[in-house]
Amino acid sequence: MKIIVPIKQVPETSKVKMDPETGTMVRTGVESIINPLDLYAIETAIRLKEKHGGTIMVISMGPPQAMKAIREAIAMGCDDGVLLSDRAFGGADTWATAYTLVMGIKKLGEVDLILCGERATDGDTGQVGPAIAAMLDLPLVTYVGKLEMSDPVSIRAERLVEGGREVVSVAGPALMTVVKEIGVPRLPTLRGILRAKETDIPVWGPAELETDATLIGLNGSPTRVVRIHHPQLTRKGEKIVVKDPADVDMAAQKIIDFMKQRNIL
């Protein structure tokens, strides 16, 4: 069984600068980590491998420093990785990102299961996983909170949806996006870290991927960021301090009055 896990490296802090000209993110000088929600996809892949055998390949598109994220994934228990990196990929929206990843996945050959995080914590779109499935014409199961696999790659999954869960089944090859409920991601082991250091991770650009130049990077993106602004975070609220038990009633009444005033009651 071959599992592919597409991951994204994201800035660790929530303070990120934007390039005012292209409206895209400036990543230099910001500590980067594996998108926290991708860790659940990696964990799921490792658990499936432990139970059913197979190999796990990590793929990422990003700047050269995204190599670090791939090594971290290998340290956790993935087998191999490949980085899709080139200036020409820069400024890609979700369509162009999915296209580039798809070209990489195709180059990796046959696959039984692609596991993605629900979304990345920086872009926050959740579109790349489903787009990869569509471009590869794979069945797609999103928001998976639980899955059981029986050989050969037949999966029963629970989707976490509004107000409940949907149970679905699918035979591989398929793409799934998983959510946090799937399990706690493991930490890298010392042995894993050593192995990650020694693993040769190829870097593929447009030449290796044979991408269509009109479909990658900013030029290949159907959408354009035209304006960025920083919303005013703070609201001007009224502050009530409960100093002694006598204030409790007053504060509770304030809450009731507030709800009435906002037409909630």
């Binding site: 929530s14 996983g129 699918v170 809450i255």
Partner: protein, 341 residues
Amino acid sequence: MKSTNNTSEIKWKDVWILAEQKGEKLQQVSFELLGRARSLADARGSRLCAVLIGNNVQHDDLQELIECGADVIYLVNDPHMANFLVEPYAKILRFLVESYHPEILIAAATTTGRTVMPYVSAQMRAGLTADCTGLEIEPESGLLLQTRPAIGGNIMATIKTPSARPQMATVRPKSTRVPERQPDRSGEIKHIDLPDSFFNSRVVFEQYISDAAGESSIEEADIVIAGGAGIKTAEGFALINQLAATLKGAVGASRPCVDHGWQPYAHQVGLSGKTISPKLYVACGISGAIQHIAGIQTAESIVAINSDPNAPIFQLADLMIVGNLFDLLPAVIEKLKENKS
């Protein structure tokens, strides 16, 4: 997967929304979408059309869609579509789009919308913007301006799709009011009959398991009462549950509570949980880490209760109560009950 999105030969017109049915019931978010899209259609001088894919669709529901702003309804009413399956949904939606050429297509940022929209936009090479909080027409160009929070809500980005069509976007549930019904409105219902091949799906739906009875999901609730680390124990959530039940709201939780197992993940609010826009959010014992705040920025009103006067959550609150929630919440519940009777 070559680019087939050639906008020059086709006349793209009309604004479309994807209405949503779940468990054979039309979802409220469908009307919110009509409310949101009506002004876009008016600005473009075009029709507003609703696509409804479902089963056992009631005539009253269709009438309500029309009275809430739909000029045309493209209806696929078929037993195969009793539940959401991405492949047939995408195939049908794509077929309709390629037959009628809407210039704008909007869906809800629900688990359904956020699954089918990227699937369709990827196949059609259309631009798609997720989770928009603002949509408007740029007067000069007539293009759809799509504004959405990114990077945990620290920035708002306005995005447009210059040439690919349709211009696609998902919008957060609860971010628009449901329009009032106008009984004198009329509209056209187009019944779309499709061959069985449209309903093929490699993913097989088995069953839907509803959360505990009466429990509403945090994305759809008007009122969310949320607990944080200040709740201290799983038992502490009893008060939160009680207040939520009294207000007919949903229960939310900050990440530490979910990590401790006090609440299931479906209730987690914030960057690694749900982003919500209720009318009222009551944060009880939540300090307000940036990751949590990212999930509630678009809430209409926020009440924060915390014993720490310096809790960052207060910066975001419309009403801040510095005090012990274990004293305060019972008093609020009591008053609400008095209020009812």
